[in-house]
Assembly symmetry: C2
Homo-oligomer: 174 residues x 2
């Protein structure tokens, strides 16, 4: 779909012009503008798509089943396809402040926070790091892993372990 391609391209070139986006996506600028009237509209559509995908990811990860560690593992695995999205929105989040979108992301964020909180309550996770920060950290590790893979510093197949192993066990030798 057109929107997906645009989102993928914007992940690499966040400041691309409409011309560049249209060319990268393979349509004329006229068509791009017909479907998304302006950059703002496009970014909002990308954001809305990311929200839908992320909701689907959360649903698929079944975060309330099993241990928090297992849920976290499923979550990380499920984020792989949408990681480039998140990386994009991460870098552009400063620009947009639409309220309903903020609400959507707050809801998604709450689901992540809840996993960490559950893990702490169950004694699986340490409690000296706030769930909010752990959620942010997971988010930026997802974006960072996507970036590391994109530039060729890491392999695609390592994605789940890169994130999961690090955030769960850290770098210290067990």
């Amino acid at each position: 779909m057109l929107l997906r391609a645009a989102a993928e391209f914007l992940g690499r070139r966040p400041n691309a012009t409409q011309d560049e986006i249209a060319e990268a996506v393979g349509v004329s600028r006229a068509t791009l503008h017909r479907q998304f009237a302006g950059r703002r509209a496009l970014m909002e559509a990308v954001d809305a798509l990311a929200v839908r995908e992320m909701r689907s990811v959360l649903a698929g990860a079944r975060l309330d089943e099993g241990t928090a560690t297992e849920a976290l593992r499923r979550l990380v695995v499920a984020t792989q396809p949408v990681s480039p999205f998140l990386a994009l929105l991460y870098s552009q989040s400063q620009e947009f402040d639409t309220d309903e979108i903020d609400g959507d992301w707050a809801e998604i964020d709450e689901a992540l926070v809840a996993v960490f909180r559950r893990g702490q309550a169950a004694g699986e996770f340490r409690s000296d790091l706030s769930p909010a920060w752990l959620s942010d950290a997971l988010y930026c590790l997802v974006a960072g892993a996507a970036w590391s893979i994109k530039v060729g510093r890491s392999a695609v197949r390592d994605y789940p372990d890169m994130i999961f192993s690090l955030i769960v066990g850290g770098v210290r030798r067990p």
Copy 2:
């Protein structure tokens, strides 16, 4: 200094216009343009400043002294003042491809990678995660912590522990 203020502002508004930057910095656009002829020149100056600061950070952290874990701790602490810089460059790195700058960052990156490699060789760190990824992960945790603090989700005083505890020990309860 003017450059520092501009860099700080660009950390919050990466796509700001020259007008906005000048206003935020407190000078006229004419003056801004006299000192940095164009956006590209400004960004390169910001980048060069970040490189200098980062080199100073690395020197201060004495990465080859003590255990790798201790070195990592010193490194994290030392990055705090420059973390907003890194977050900015992280989001803008896709745009610029000046070779000498890439060389500088490659050199800095090598220093980070070396710490993790040393820790692995000494048996302090696990070896199933590549030093390159660990370096990327540290980088994006630094940027993520800066962001988390900026938006008020985390406290400034927690900065070192947020990053160090997580990357060393992970979220699993010891």
